[in-house]
Subunit: 152 residues, 3 copies
């Protein structure tokens, strides 16, 4: 039997994994039906309802050429079938228009246990630092093309 | 009942969270009364006693415009009411004088259980890589001001 | 008694720690005897057998001046004495020839419990983003030399 703390870390990691693989079905089922997804300045967003959250998320990803998410060790506090958590994280990527995207931020979460599984009731993203400068490197599916270009 | 491994990860994450929110009360209570905080070259530091550690930490933060800390998956070894751990981590920030701060490092820890809660008995920070070059991006409270500047 | 989820996170963190300290004995014992280590494009690698994996790993490290690895929160699924996992991660370093190395990637793992301890049966590394541009900062053992140089 997995502990509540490990189950919530798993939930947080599945969110990142869904983003990294752009898997909307996986992303959708992480939320309670009435879940709320909030992003703070300078890219403010407030979306409610798992279906709306999932389609909003997919539309945001569509504006990026690639995006990576990772969550550092976080704080979790269990209170019966509710819980709260705070997860420092990083996102790196490139927008379709060529701008870079790199940040240091944290997710402030409320979780709820529904049908024996933990879900996001609310995620609130707070940016601590953000850069839109062009990144040095390239997404890997482009690396070989670039190498060939620089060889020829 | 939370496992010892999860409780120690929680302690490590609270340290990062206290730094990211500059919360000295939260930071202070993570240490044993006779705790020791050490940082290796090139910014060597050795401080003993939870109160002295907390005021030293706050003074160091005061020299920064912003600072982000995150801890990657770490190794923990429990031995009754003592434990040891090793946590790779990253710190990113900007000094008040404009210099950047970005590193890859690790915390080598000794923990002690006091009054049923795990505390830091000793943290030793080892830098693997350090950059003081100016960062590309900006802390978020400055982003809007800069955007307005570039618009006008 | 440590949970399976925590034991596997410990295994993943020991892999990173062995890399950060270049400890081949520690690295070697993390694998099953018939373990498989795979790296995807653009640096494809397929190595089988713990001994061959360890010597291949050490030879790869020898081409780097320094290397840091860290794993973000991961997803683990236990199935009796087998398990699977997915861990987003970052590697940063400098090659001996001066080129930088910075990536966002993930390890897709199969674990097997052997003699009451979890081991890697297979690790497959997928690059999401890779940069070989020169890094801004320096490994710490070089920092003091550089500071003296810039002073004189």
């Amino acid at each position: 039997m997995i502990s509540d703390e490990n189950a919530i870390q798993d939930l947080v990691a599945r969110f990142d994994d869904a983003a990294n693989r752009r898997d909307i079905a996986e992303f959708r089922k992480l939320w309670t039906r009435d879940g709320v997804w909030e992003i703070g300045d300078p890219m403010p967003l407030h979306v409610a309802g798992a279906d709306t959250i999932a389609t909003t998320w997919l539309a945001a990803l569509a504006d990026t050429d690639w995006l990576f998410r990772g969550s550092f060790a976080g704080v979790v506090l269990i209170d019966s079938d509710k819980a709260t958590g705070l997860w420092p994280c990083v996102e790196t990527g490139t927008f379709a228009d060529g701008r870079g995207y790199d940040n240091r931020a944290s997710y402030d979460d409320i979780y709820r246990r529904v049908d024996d599984a933990w879900h996001f009731q609310r995620r609130h993203y707070t940016y601590l630092w953000l850069s839109n400068d062009k990144l040095c490197g390239a997404p890997v599916r482009l690396v070989e093309a670039e190498q060939q270009e620089s060889i020829s």
